[in-house]
Every structure is written in C-alpha cells, then in structure tokens.
Amino acid sequence: MTTITLDQLAHDNRPTQFALLNELVELFTGSPAITHLLVRGSLASGTSDRLSDIDLVVGVHDRQLPLLAENLDALLSSSLGTLLPGWPDTIVAALGGCGWVYLIPHSGHLLQLDLYLAPSTAIASLQQRTGARLLLQRDGAPCTAADTRASTTYLRAAATSSPDARTLLVQSLIIHAMLRKRLLRNQPFIAYDLLGQLHTTLRDLIKITLAPQSRHHGWYHLPDEVGRSPLGRGCLAELEAALAEPSIPTRAQADATVERIWRLAADLVPHAVAALAEAHASYLTYQELA
C-alpha cells in the first residue's frame, strides 16, 4: 500500500519535462520514417532538475531525413505549439546529423527542446559517442548508398548555410533563455560564454543588414564596413556599450542585452521583427519581462 502511494506521488511530482518527452515520443513513434528515439544529457544520466532541457535524438531513415528536416518547424508547431521556429543549434557537437533548439510553452513555463536529427546509419556511432539511452529502436527499410548520399548532401548544405535576420532574432531569444537558466544555476563560466554569443548575435545582425557583402571574418574591419552612415555609427556605439559591460552578466544585464538587440533590430530589420512580434511578446511574458 505504501509503495503504491509513493509511486503515485513520484509520478505526480515528476518534472514537466517527462510529460513533454512523452508527447514527443508519441508524436515521432507515429511516423514509420522514424527508426530510433534516444534521450541524451541530464534526463539520460538521471541528473535533471526542473530547469533541464530535453535532449532528444531522432533517428530517421536516411532517404527521408531531408523531408523531415524541411518540415520539422511545421510539425512541431502544429503538434506541440513551439513558441519560435527552431534555431539551428551551433552549440551541439557534430554527431552525424543536425540539431535545432525549440522553446515550448508547457504547464505555464517555457521548456527547451534540443532536438538532434540524425540519419539511421549514424545512430550506432552517435550512441557510442554520447551514451544516449534508447527509447525506441525499430527496423525500417534498408538504407541504400543513394539514401545515405541524399542525407549527407542535405546535412552538408545545412551546415554551411548562413543565418538570416529572422534566425538571428530567434537565436537572441534562445541564447537569452539559456543564459537566464545558467545564471539561476550560478554557472558563471557558461554565462560568460553565452553573453559572448549574444554580443556576436548583435554584431551579425548589424553586419548582415549594413554590410551584407562583407568578406571579412567576425569582428575584422567592422568599423570601416558598418560605420559609414549615422545608423551604422549608432549601431557600433550600441555594440561597444554592450561589450563594455561586465563579462559575467547579472540577470538584469542579460535582459538588457537582448532588449538592446530587439531595439536595434526594429530599425535594422523591421519586417523580421514584425513577423516575430507575437512570439517575442509571449516570450517576454513567459520570462516575466513584459
């Protein structure tokens, strides 16, 4: 009797990530194209807390990887109500596929989903390298060399594509959400790194708008390329002001940095800002910044 009660209590108090993970498993299991589902990270190692993200690996038949990748935003938006389009994950290690980060409203909060899409033929080595735990494995149709070539070609193209303004704005919110989590957990080194990524996001937003033909890497020649107009000089001044702040941010500083990005973006890329206006407003409400 006591055991049953404790089990029930444990179930009732399980972190909300498990409820969402359950929905994800149900969703992907419904597609015959999906051959594997694996969970990585803290959920797999048993070290998760209520702030933890969901690290899900989705193994898909090689031939169908491009089709699923192209329709992933529509699938997750329709099925789970993602707040923003997926952000192409530039933080995750190269494991033979490609990753996206999503924010999903769930039980009054935003949960982070790190979804890694990998061709079936890459799953065995991925599992060996990461220790990911299997949730689903089933035989699909055999993959031919042509199937694998199709997924490889798609993944190579995805890896080399440059972000547009909309992607950079999404990136700013995702990185900000990650940063707030690290600050809550008192992890200054990771917070330092993420603040740097927010600054880079601001730089790239300025650069793709005011110097889209730039052939220079990163910060090189930025003042020369961008500072030719009053708007550009204003952007550089904002960027410099952001960089002058402490390198390990407080939460208020993190919030001010993302606010600065969106304020400048309203002048630089108004159409991209307008397209994401509702999602941005909802994001601020969830983060209690509205």
Partner: protein, 278 residues
C-alpha cells in the same frame, strides 16, 4: 490617436459593449485563477485540445456539468467561492442562459464553427469578459483577427462562423455568459464599438501560398504525421481570409490527392456539421 470606431463591418459579429473597471477585473481574475477546480477539459472534432470549462451558472449547480440548455440557471458551487464575479453578474441585471469560465491553453485552437445551431428560436448573445489573455489569443471571424483585450465586456454573435485560438500563450482565461435578449441586454448593447488596434484584416490566400501549404501538409502526411498535416491546414483560417469552410476543403483535397477518399469524405461531413449547414 483615437482608433475607436462605431461603424465597422464586424460590429454585427463582435463588439465591445462597455469597459470593466480595473479593480473589479483584478478581483475576478484572482478568483478565477484560484478556483478549486480548473473545470473539465473537453475533446471534440471542433478543437485541438486544451479547452477547459468550469460552469458558474447552469441547470444542475455542478461546475463540471457543461450542458447548455434553455431555462433559468442556478449558481454552481464554484460561483459561491467567487463573490466579486457573482456580484458583477448580478449587477449587469441580464437574463442568463449559461455562464462559465473558459480556459484555453497555449496551442489551443477551436476550429472554424458556428454555435447555437440547435438554439435558433430565441434571440440570445454571447458575452465575453477576458480575464487573462495575450497578443496571440484571437478570435477570427469574417476574414479578420480580433484580439479581445482585457478591460472590456465583449459581445460575440456565435451563429456567425468563427474560430478561436491561443497560439503561443500564456493561458487565455475568459468569463463567458450566454444571455437572452431583453431590455437590460438592449441597454447594455446600445453603443457597441471596436478599437481598430484590436483588429487585423487577413489577406486572402494566394494560389501559390495555397499550393505551398498543401504540399507541406502532404509531406507531413506522407511521413506519417497525418494529424499534424491536418492541423497545419486548419491554421490557415487564422492567417488568411478563406471562404467559409475553406480550411476543411483543403484538408479533404489533401486526403484526396493522397488517395484516402474515406478521410476526405469525413472532413467534408465534418465541415457540414461544424458550420451547422444541416
């Protein structure tokens, strides 16, 4: 700039009737958020899930009883814990048919439909008092998105085809009252208006965008995500001015292209039922 208008093509479908005092609204919101029960979640063909109803005035007094019918309703046990809400309803002096709290979770969608199909003999209206909402929570009718902002008592004519969504959240929470038309109602509804800032006129769906949406939905269905494919097309209603039932037609078209005539036929039938064309 004053953006309030008293003549507008939408005024027959939806309108603001009067402001709700901020202090009253805050107390009613507090009461609604603290109810001992969230109510009952309903599942049906005309919604995506995440639609919770808690009855405040009905015929049984049970807050979990969500049956709508003509007559004089009584307070449910829930309303007894909501003194400000009860006083607000009383002071309006209306003849109520049914009053409830309605919660719509993020990613909650009530697809295009008509209400009161079986209750057409007596004139009645639906009043909404938004208690908590967000910019992505909208009502769509007659090719326009209307954000029912808090601070107002709204009137909806639910016999006109409409849909509701809370795309991104947080939770949308409305007090909804179905009322009979009488002198008190006429006085309340004497000066309807709308604020243009709450209205977005939707653009028609171009042929190219239509083909693109159909193609993407068909891709999802081919991958085995049939429900997601259908929902992808149903959402077009909230983004584009479609002919009545247009989203249902597109789903039927998609299934037909994929060779699933049975599903295509089911959606044609559902369209007739949801839009009360029988």
């Amino acid at each position: 700039m004053n953006t309030t208008v008293v003549t507008h093509p939408l005024l027959n479908q939806i309108a603001r009737l009067r402001p709700v005092p901020a202090a009253t609204l805050d107390l009613m919101r507090q009461e609604a958020l603290n109810t001992p029960t969230p109510g009952v979640i309903s599942y049906s063909d005309y919604q995506s899930g995440g639609w919770w109803t808690a009855s405040l005035l009905n015929h049984s007094g049970d807050p979990h009883d969500t049956i709508i019918g003509d007559g004089t309703p009584q307070p449910t046990t829930l309303l007894e814990h909501m003194p400000t809400t009860a006083a607000f309803l009383r002071e309006l002096g209306l003849r109520y048919m049914y009053v409830r709290l309605a919660r719509l979770e993020p990613n909650g969608w009530l697809w295009e439909h008509r209400d009161y199909a079986e209750l057409t003999d007596v004139p009645r209206h639906r009043l909404h008092i938004p208690l908590a909402t967000n910019a992505s929570a909208v009502l769509v009718t007659a090719g326009a998105r209307v954000h029912m902002r808090t601070g107002w008592l709204w009137r909806l004519t639910p016999t006109v085809a409409h849909g509701v969504c809370n795309e991104l959240g947080p939770e949308r929470l409305h007090l909804i009252a179905d009322v009979y038309v009488d002198d008190a109602y006429r006085a309340l509804a004497e000066h309807p208006d709308l604020d243009l800032d709450d209205i977005t006129e939707l653009t028609p769906l171009s042929e190219q965008a239509c083909q693109q949406a159909l193609s993407q939905a068909a891709d999802l269905a081919r991958l085995g995500f049939v429900r997601a494919a259908e929902q992808h097309l149903l959402r077009l209603y909230y983004r584009h001015a479609l002919p009545e039932g247009g989203a249902y037609d597109l789903i039927a078209q998609m299934h037909q292209v994929l060779g699933d005539e049975a599903r295509a036929e089911r959606w044609r039938r559902d369209k007739t039922i949801l839009l009360a064309r029988d």
